[in-house]
C-alpha cells in the first residue's frame, strides 16, 4: 500500500533511530554507564549462584544432621563408631517404614511395596501367641514352675579364649537344633552345673513354639515359602535366653559371644519402660548376625493379667523378626551428604584370610527387575559417577533432563562436594587395608580404613552368595568446592570493576571530555587565549597565543611552566579615541594601572610590546623584528563573590584573567613605533 510500511520496515526504521540515539549517547559518555551496569549485573548473577549453592549446602547439612540425631541402632563392639553409624544410616532411617521423628516406636507406616513384610510382621506375633497359649493351657505356669531341677539339654562350647572368667570358662550354653538354636549367656548358669532357673527353663520350653509359628506363617504364603526379606526370627526372655531362627539355615552358636545379654537390648528394654505398649520397631542397623542392614520388629509376650492393680501380666519375653531393608533404600544410602559412596563386593575366603582379597567396585546399583526399579535411582547417577569415574555421569544427566526431575538441595550439595575417586584407587585402598581385618568383624561392624589421608569406612550390607557385599564411604570435602569459590571471586571482581567503571564515568571521564573539548576549542580559535590566575601566573593558553608570543606557554592539562603574564610585555599603549593634532595618539599605561583596573572588575585593552625579541626566519633584518613585536591584548577579569576575612558581607574578588591576544595591523605598528620613538626623543630633550 502506498505510504504504508510493512511491520518489518517499521521495526527497521525504529532500530535505525535507536542506533542514531545510541551513537550520540555513546559520544556523550553513556558507554561508561552501560559497561558499569552490565558488569554489575554479571557480578550479581555470579554472587547469586554462589549464595544459592552456599544456602543449598547449608540446608542439606542441616537436614542431614536433623535426620541423624533421631537415629537409634543396636550397640555393638564398634560403639565408638556410633556417630558414624548414625551418619551412614540416617537417610535410610529417615525413609524407613516408621515415622523417623516420632517418639512412638510402635508406629509402622507400611508402604505399598512392603505389604508382604507388613503382613508377615502382623501375623507372626499372633501365630506365636496362639501356639504359646495352647502350650500354657496344657501346662499352666504353676506346673511349669514346678519343674525345678529338670536338666536342660545343653551342649557346652569349647572355650576359645584362655583368659575368660571362671563363670565363662565353659563358654556360651547353646543347643543347636535343625532349624533353631537356643542359647543362654554363660553367666546365667547356676554354679552347681548345667542347671538353670525354672524361669529360664520355662522360657526355653515356650520358645520352642517359634518353629511352629514359622511353619504356620509359611503356610499362609504361596508355595509355603517365607518372603525373602525375613532374615531372622527369635525369642528373647527376660533372662537373656535367645532362641533364634535364621534364613541362612543352620545357626552356629559360635557366631555369638558367650556373655551377651540379649534382654539388655533396646528392643527388649523398651517394654520395661513402656508396659502399655506391645510392639516396637527399630531403626535400620547393622545386624550382629552378619545379615547386613536390617530393621527389627518386636512383640511383647505376656502371661494373663493376675494382679488387678497392675495393667499387665508377667512379661515372658519378646518375639522379634529381622527384616532386610528394601532394595530402593540402597539408592538412598548411596546419596549421602557426608560421604561419597561406592558398592564393593568380594569373595570371603573360608580360612578367614583376606590376604588375597580381590575387590570389585560395582559401577551401577544392584540390578533390579523392572517392577522393582525404584524411581529415585536416576538421581544417584551423578553421585556414583563422581566416585567410580565418568561412565555414568552423562547418562544420568540425560535421565534427569528427560524426566525433568528438579534437583533437590541435597542433590546440589552432593554435586558441590563431589570428589574424584577412581575405581583403581578404591580397589587398591581396600586391598591393602582389609588384609588383616577379622572376617566376622567385617560383617558385623563398620570397618575403618585410612584412605587418602582421611578415615574411610566399609559398611557391611550382608552376604550375597558367599560374597561380602558392602558400601565404601569416603568423607566428602567440607564446604563449597573451588568452583563455587570461583563464583564468589568472579562476582566480587565484576562488581568491583563495575564500581571502578562507575567512578571513572562519574569523576574522570567528564573531566577528560571537558579537557578534550577545551583543547579542541582552544586549538581552533583564531585569536590567542591566555588564562591567568590572581597572582598573574599563566595557567593555560592555546597554540595561537604561543605562536603570537613566540614562547613556550602552559597548555590545558599540562601545567608546569611558571610564567608571569605581565612580564611578557614591556610597554603598554592605549589608543586615544579622538586624537587631535595637539594630543598624542597613544597613552602609556603601567602595570599598576592595568592591575588596578582588573581588580576593580574592569576589562582592559591595550597594545603591548613584548619584553623580548621574537626569533624569526628573517634574522637579517633586525628592524623588521622590532616592528612586529606588538600585540593587541584584551583582558577580562574573572570575578567571584567571596566573604571577607572578618566574616563581613560578600565582596567581589578577582580570581583570574581571561586574556585574548591578537596580531596588530602593520600600519598600527608603524604608528606605535613612531610614538615610542618620539616619546624617547622627548625624554632626551630632542625635538623630533
Amino acid at each position: 500500500m502506498d505510504g504504508q510500511l510493512s511491520e518489518v520496515e517499521v521495526s527497521n526504521a525504529l532500530v535505525e533511530r535507536i542506533k542514531v540515539r545510541l551513537r550520540r549517547l555513546m559520544n556523550e559518555g553513556f558507554g561508561g554507564f552501560l559497561i558499569s551496569i552490565t558488569l554489575f549485573t554479571f557480578g550479581a548473577v555470579f554472587l547469586s549462584k554462589y549464595l544459592h549453592d552456599y544456602a543449598a549446602l547449608a540446608e542439606a547439612v542441616r537436614v542431614e544432621i536433623l535426620e541423624m540425631v533421631d537415629t537409634r541402632q543396636e550397640d555393638s563392639d564398634s560403639v565408638k563408631e556410633a556417630g558414624l553409624i548414625a551418619a551412614a544410616l540416617a537417610r535410610v532411617n529417615a525413609a524407613g517404614p516408621f515415622q523417623s521423628h516420632s517418639a512412638n516406636r510402635q508406629d509402622w507406616n507400611c508402604p505399598a511395596e512392603e505389604a508382604a513384610v507388613c503382613e508377615l510382621l502382623l501375623q507372626f506375633p499372633e501365630l506365636f501367641e496362639k501356639r504359646m497359649d495352647q502350650e500354657l493351657q496344657a501346662k499352666p505356669p504353676a506346673a511349669i514352675a514346678a519343674v525345678e531341677g529338670e536338666t536342660f539339654d545343653i551342649v557346652p562350647m569349647k572355650k576359645r579364649e584362655p583368659e575368660y572368667r571362671p563363670e565363662l570358662a565353659e563358654g556360651v550354653v547353646c543347643q543347636e537344633g535343625p532349624r533353631t538354636a537356643v542359647m543362654v549367656p554363660a553367666q546365667m548358669r547356676r554354679p552347681d552345673g548345667q542347671h538353670f532357673s525354672p524361669r529360664i527353663e520355662q522360657a526355653a520350653r515356650l520358645s520352642a513354639n517359634l518353629e511352629k509359628a514359622l511353619d504356620d506363617l509359611a503356610s499362609s504364603f504361596p508355595q509355603k515359602k517365607l518372603p525373602g526379606s525375613l532374615v531372622q526370627a527369635y525369642f528373647i526372655s527376660p533372662d537373656s535366653l535367645l532362641r533364634i531362627w535364621s534364613k541362612r539355615g543352620h545357626v552356629q552358636c559360635e557366631e555369638f559371644d558367650a556373655p551377651r545379654l540379649w534382654a539388655a537390648k533396646d528392643y527388649f528394654s523398651y517394654f520395661w519402660d513402656n508396659p502399655k505398649q506391645h510392639d516396637y520397631s527399630t531403626a535400620a542397623y547393622i545386624d550382629y548376625g552378619g545379615n547386613g542392614l536390617v530393621r527389627t520388629r518386636c512383640h511383647a509376650v505376656e502371661l494373663p493379667r493376675t494382679n488387678k492393680n497392675l495393667p499387665n501380666g508377667e512379661l515372658l519375653g519378646v518375639v522379634c523378626m529381622d527384616v532386610k531393608w528394601r532394595p530402593d533404600q540402597e539408592a538412598i544410602l548411596h546419596r549421602h551428604l557426608f560421604f561419597e559412596t561406592a558398592r564393593v563386593t568380594f569373595a570371603l575366603p573360608d580360612d578367614n584370610d583376606l590376604e588375597h582379597l580381590s575387590v570389585e567396585v560395582l559401577q551401577n546399583n544392584r540390578p533390579h527387575t523392572p517392577e522393582q526399579q525404584p524411581k529415585v535411582v536416576e538421581l544417584t547417577g551423578p553421585i556414583n559417577a563422581g566416585i567410580v569415574g565418568t561412565c555414568c555421569n552423562s547418562s544420568a544427566a540425560i535421565a534427569v533432563e528427560k524426566d525433568d526431575l528438579k534437583p533437590t538441595a541435597l542433590d546440589l550439595a552432593l554435586d558441590m562436594q563431589k570428589n574424584s575417586l577412581t575405581v583403581e584407587e578404591i580397589r587398591e585402598g581396600l586391598h591393602s587395608e582389609l588384609k588383616n581385618v577379622n572376617q566376622r568383624a567385617l560383617l558385623r561392624e563398620i570397618t575403618r580404613i585410612p584412605f587418602r589421608g582421611k578415615k574411610a569406612f566399609v559398611l557391611p550390607l550382608g552376604l550375597m552368595d558367599g560374597h561380602f557385599d558392602g558400601l565404601f564411604l569416603y568423607p566428602r570435602s567440607p564446604g563449597l568446592p573451588a568452583s563455587d569459590q570461583g563464583f564468589l571471586v568472579i562476582g566480587l571482581l565484576s562488581i568491583g570493576a563495575a564500581l571502578s567503571a562507575g567512578v571513572y564515568s562519574w569523576r574522570i571521564s567528564p573531566k577528560a571530555t571537558e579537557l578534550r573539548n577545551r583543547l579542541a576549542l582552544f586549538r581552533n580559535l583564531q585569536v590567542g587565549v591566555v588564562l591567568v590566575d590572581a597572582t598573574d601566573s599563566i595557567l593555560e593558553s592555546n597554540d595561537r597565543a604561543e605562536e603570537l608570543f613566540a614562547k613556550k606557554l602552559p597548555k590545558p592539562g599540562a601545567p608546569g611552566l611558571r610564567l608571569r603574564f605581565q612580564h611578557l610585555i614591556r610597554d603598554r599603549l592605549v589608543a586615544n579615541e579622538s586624537p587631535s593634532a595637539d594630543s598624542a595618539p597613544f597613552t602609556r599605561i603601567t602595570t599598576e594601572d592595568v592591575d588596578k583596573a582588573r581588580r576593580s572588575g574592569e576589562a582592559s585593552a591595550y597594545y603591548g610590546l613584548l619584553s623580548y625579541k621574537r626569533k624569526r626566519a628573517d634574522q637579517a633584518d633586525p628592524t623588521a623584528q622590532e616592528d612586529l613585536d606588538w600585540l593587541r591584548v584584551s583582558a577580562t577579569p574573572i570575578m567571584a563573590s567571596r566573604k571577607s576575612a572578618g566574616g563581613g558581607p560578600l565582596q567581589l574578588c578577582m580570581e583570574g584573567i581571561f586574556a585574548t591576544v591578537d596580531a596588530v595591523p602593520y600600519e598600527t605598528i608603524k604608528q606605535l613605533n613612531a610614538y615610542l620613538k618620539s616619546e624617547e626623543l622627548a625624554r632626551k630633550g630632542v625635538q623630533p
Partner: protein, 289 residues
C-alpha cells in the same frame, strides 16, 4: 495446563492472554519510540527592548533551533513563529532574518504580520539555525513551532534518518523530541531540549534490560527454571542493581551540549511558491497567558 472446555472459558483465556501481552507490548513500543525520537532543541531569547514612546517601542528577539543528532532531519517542515498577543505584530519593514547558511528556505509573512513561516526540506546534522526578528512593543508572548508542511502529510510516513534512505514508519510514535517553544512575557529566555545526558529514560531502559537479563540468568542458570527457587537473596541483588543504576545515572549525568553559535551571516531566502493552508487561514491568536 488444563485447556478450557467451553466457549466462555476460551474467551476468558484469550482475554487473559491479551491483557498479559498487549499492555507491556504497547508500553515497550511507546517507550522505544519515545526514547528514539529525533532530538532537537529550541531556544528563545528577548535580546533588547527599546525605550521611548510606546508607539515606537520595539523588541528584538533571537530564536534558535538545533539538530542534536549526527544525521539530518529530513522531510518537509515549517518553522513557524507566532505572536500570541492580540495587538502584537512583527515590526513593519523588518522581516525576520534567518541565519541558516546556504540551506534553501522559503519564507512567508502572514497578512496581519502575526505569523512568520519558513519552510525547509532538511535540517542538516548538528546544525544550528537562528532567526532574529523585531516586534512592536505589544509582541511579548512568542511561540515557535516546528510542524509538518501539510497536516495531511503528517499522517503519512514520517521521515526516517537520512542513512536509511527510505520513508519512516506509519505509526503513532513521536518523531521529534520537541516541536514547540513559547517565550512568555514575564521571561527573558526559554530553552526546550536536553538539559542533561544520559537522559533518564535511556538509563531506565538500560537498567531494565540489565534487570531482565539478571532474572533470566538467575532463573535458567541458578534456579533451574523453577520460579519458586528464587529467594530473597536474588530479590536483594536485583534491588542492588536498581539502586546501582539510579545512583550511577545520578552521578554520571552531565549538562548536555547546548545551543551552539550557528551562522554569522544571514541567509538568502525566497518566498513560498505555494502558500500553505496553515498560513493563509489566519486564525485569531489566543489570548496571552
Amino acid at each position: 495446563m488444563t485447556l478450557p472446555t467451553d466457549a466462555m472459558g476460551w474467551l476468558v483465556l484469550v482475554l487473559h492472554i491479551i491483557l498479559l501481552i498487549v499492555p507491556p507490548s504497547v508500553m515497550t513500543w511507546k517507550l522505544l519510540g519515545s526514547i528514539s525520537a529525533h532530538s532537537v532543541c529550541f531556544s528563545g531569547l528577548r535580546v533588547h527592548e527599546s525605550t521611548g514612546v510606546a508607539a515606537n517601542r520595539q523588541i528584538r528577539y533571537l530564536f534558535s533551533i538545533q539538530n542534536n543528532e549526527d544525521v539530518a532531519l529530513t522531510g518537509k517542515r515549517i518553522l513557524k513563529i507566532r505572536i500570541l498577543d492580540n495587538l502584537g505584530r512583527f515590526a513593519a519593514g523588518k522581516d525576520p532574518e534567518v541565519y541558516a547558511g546556504c540551506n534553501p528556505l522559503r519564507v512567508l509573512m502572514s497578512a496581519d504580520r502575526t505569523v512568520w513561516c519558513a519552510a525547509f526540506d532538511e535540517l542538516p546534522a548538528l546544525e544550528t539555525w537562528t532567526i532574529r526578528f523585531t516586534t512592536d512593543g505589544e509582541g511579548r508572548n512568542i511561540r515557535m513551532t516546528l510542524e509538518d508542511a501539510d497536516p495531511a502529510e503528517a499522517k503519512k510516513p514520517s521521515p526516517a534518518p537520512a542513512s536509511t534512505k527510505k520513508p519512516g514508519p506509519s505509526v503513532d510514535l513521536p518523531v521529534l523530541s520537541h516541536t514547540q517553544l513559547t517565550l512568555p512575557a514575564d521571561r527573558e529566555s526559554v530553552f526546550k531540549g536536553r538539559y542533561a545526558t544520559p537522559e533518564a529514560w535511556w538509563s531506565f531502559t538500560a537498567s531494565s534490560l540489565a534487570l531482565g537479563g539478571y532474572f533470566v540468568s538467575v532463573l535458567y542458570y541458578v534456579c533451574g527454571r523453577d520460579l519458586t527457587q528464587i529467594t530473597w537473596v536474588d530479590t536483594g541483588l536485583a534491588c542492588l542493581i536498581v539502586v546501582f543504576g539510579c545512583t550511577l545515572w545520578w552521578l554520571t549525568r552531565r549538562p548536555a551540549p547546548s545551543i551552539s553559535q550557528g551562522y554569522r551571516e544571514p541567509s538568502e531566502t525566497r518566498p513560498f511558491e505555494v502558500i500553505p493552508a496553515t498560513v493563509v487561514v489566519v486564525t485569531p491568536p489566543p489570548a496571552a497567558p
